[in-house]
């Protein structure tokens, strides 16, 4: 007496194959939905924005007249803020990650710190804006400057960089650390010469993706008092500034139809910047992939 009834197996075969097909169809549908949304978005922006896109648009300051308006101030503002954010968040984030992974003892306290860092990554950006307003703008008296904005953005993306760097450091195999220690290398030599270089591609990928999130953020900088209408470029880190997303927000909230078109042109510029940053991240990841 066999335990498996071949007849009933045969009878169920049709249903199983049908379910198999349905599952595949549903997943394709889910993918198509996001592709469709992306397609509509790109079509709308390109059709509205392309006619206004020109070199003048990039090099002109904002203006009351749509045909003369440009994003020069916002573009440079974004670059200035990122120039503050990138090094600050990289140094603090990687430093924290190295401490947590390599030095900290695994105890209740480090576990608590770890959970809180992960939680911070999920805190709404406007909360970081309020934090920046309290500490950098008011307490340290930096005002609504590039420095205050950049530092606030650093805080915002710091948890993401810490977590990404920790993961990158964790992928460095124990064996090659042992090899280094086994030759009499100190902990710092092992970190500097073996662990850090091996983890760097992962760290950079995480950092660039975090920075590209910061490029698109509006809320924290609005709270800080970043300007909406600027006709000058920042001269140093204490200058007032605006950034691309704020400029776009400003244009889209105006009644004139032309400004909406200009906003679409600005979005194209912003998307190109993000695309370039993400491509660099992907390039780094692919170049150093499969090293272990």
């Amino acid at each position: 007496m066999p335990l498996i009834n071949k007849e009933s197996v045969k009878k169920r075969m049709g249903t199983r194959l049908a379910a198999n097909g349905v599952a595949k169809f549903l997943f394709i549908l889910a993918t198509c939905f996001s592709l469709l949304v992306l397609g509509v978005l790109i079509y709308r922006i390109l059709s509205e924005g392309l006619p206004y896109l020109s070199l003048d648009f990039i090099t002109n300051f904002a203006s009351r007249m749509p045909e003369r308006a440009g994003i020069w101030a916002a573009l440079l503002g974004t670059i200035w803020v990122m120039a503050v954010t990138a090094p600050v968040s990289f140094i603090l984030g990687v430093g924290t990650a190295i401490y947590l992974e390599e030095y900290a003892k695994k105890n209740a306290f480090t576990k608590f710190v770890q959970i809180n860092i992960s939680n911070l990554a999920g805190v709404p950006s406007i909360v970081f804006g309020l934090l920046g307003l309290t500490i950098f703008v008011r307490l340290l008296g930096l005002g609504s400057s590039v420095l205050a904005g950049g530092l606030t953005m650093s805080l915002l993306i710091l948890p993401v960089i810490v977590v990404a760097s920790q993961e990158a450091i964790r992928t460095v195999p124990r064996e090659i650390r042992e090899a280094s220690f086994g030759m009499g290398a100190t902990k710092w030599q092992t970190i500097r010469r073996i662990v850090f270089p091996a983890a760097l591609p992962g760290i950079l990928t995480g950092t660039i993706l975090a920075l590209s999130r910061a490029v698109g953020e509006t809320a924290p900088l609005l709270v800080l008092g970043a300007l909406a209408y600027v006709a000058f470029v920042p001269e140093n880190i204490f200058s007032q500034f605006t950034v691309l997303p704020i400029q776009l927000y400003n244009w889209t909230s105006r009644p004139q139809e032309e400004f909406h078109m200009i906003a679409a042109s600005g979005i194209i510029i912003l998307l190109i910047i993000l695309l370039i940053m993400n491509s660099i991240a992907v390039l780094i990841r692919n170049k150093f992939h499969k090293r272990f």
Binding site: I176, E178, M183, G184, T186, Q189, R193, P197
Partner: protein, 269 residues
């Protein structure tokens, strides 16, 4: 009564040893948490000979070899007592830093573990961390070490290619070269051929024979034939204890303990 027996045993031990010891292990005990992994280990390891450590899985042989360069302390829950004297210095003395010890006592691991760097940089790593920057000296060290590990002819034309492009056997010999580059006194090998094919294994075994002219070698192996082929002295470990430690030929032809005999004749393990 007990004391006299102990004295006799000590005398017997001393008579047996007609070699210069490089390591003297005295009443070494080691615990992983509650697990008593090494129990009262006491024997001497000779200079410029190959000492094999054999025994079934989990008998503590890997743990033991890792105590010799204190790599075992990378496990946080480890506790130890007793002493290991390396060339008249107790390696557990806080004044004797692990970095200094490991410069003298190099290690080759079970799985080939080259760094994700070029062949040249792998070998130059040791000298570099010890502060050698002179390019000419580094070049010489790299060549000498690669020759010493019998891999120079295979890699001399691609020194600056990534070490991951080498075969497993070549990687392991590269790791041996990397170990030689710090000019150690002792080389510890933790099952160095267990991940290799028979031909690569043979090459590493021949290399060990060559290296013992200049270095003292301690090798952990799963493979009893290997121990018999390449070692001068063999220690048989069982459940964290040294059951028998003597000349390899004596241990394999005329074991004095029943458990050793059972193990080497393949009755268990």
């Amino acid at each position: 009564m007990d004391i006299t027996i102990n004295k006799q045993m000590v005398q017997k031990n001393e008579k047996e040893q007609d070699f210069t010891p490089v390591f003297k292990i005295n009443n070494l005990n080691l615990w992983y948490g509650q697990d008593h992994a090494l129990k009262d280990i006491k024997f001497d390891i000779p200079e410029k000979q190959v000492t094999a450590i054999i025994g079934p899985s989990g008998c503590g042989k890997s743990t033991f070899i890792k105590t010799l360069n204190r790599m075992v302390e990378m496990v946080p829950i480890v506790r130890m007592s007793g002493e290991i004297v390396y060339r008249e210095k107790n390696i557990f003395n806080p004044k004797y830093g692990v970095e200094e010890l490991r410069t003298q006592v190099g290690m080759v691991f079970q799985k080939p573990n080259p760094f994700p760097k070029s062949i040249y940089e792998n070998v130059a790593y040791g000298p570099r961390i010890h502060g050698i920057k002179n390019k000419k000296v580094l070049d010489e060290v790299v060549e000498k070490s690669l020759r010493g590990a019998a891999i120079w002819d295979e890699v001399k034309d691609r020194l600056h290619e990534n070490a991951y492009g080498l075969s497993g056997g070549q990687q392991q010999r590269l790791c041996i070269a990397r170990c030689l580059a710090i000019e150690p006194d002792v080389i510890l090998m933790d099952e160095p051929t267990s991940a290799l094919d028979p031909i690569s294994t043979l090459k590493v075994e021949e290399l060990v024979q060559e290296l013992k002219k200049d270095y003292s070698i301690v090798i952990v192996t799963h493979n009893m034939q290997q121990a018999a082929r390449i070692s001068d002295r063999t220690a048989f470990f069982l459940n964290g204890e040294v059951v028998e430690y003597t000349d390899t030929s004596t241990l394999f032809s005329n074991p004095s303990d029943k458990r050793t005999e059972d193990y080497i004749t393949g009755r268990f393990g």
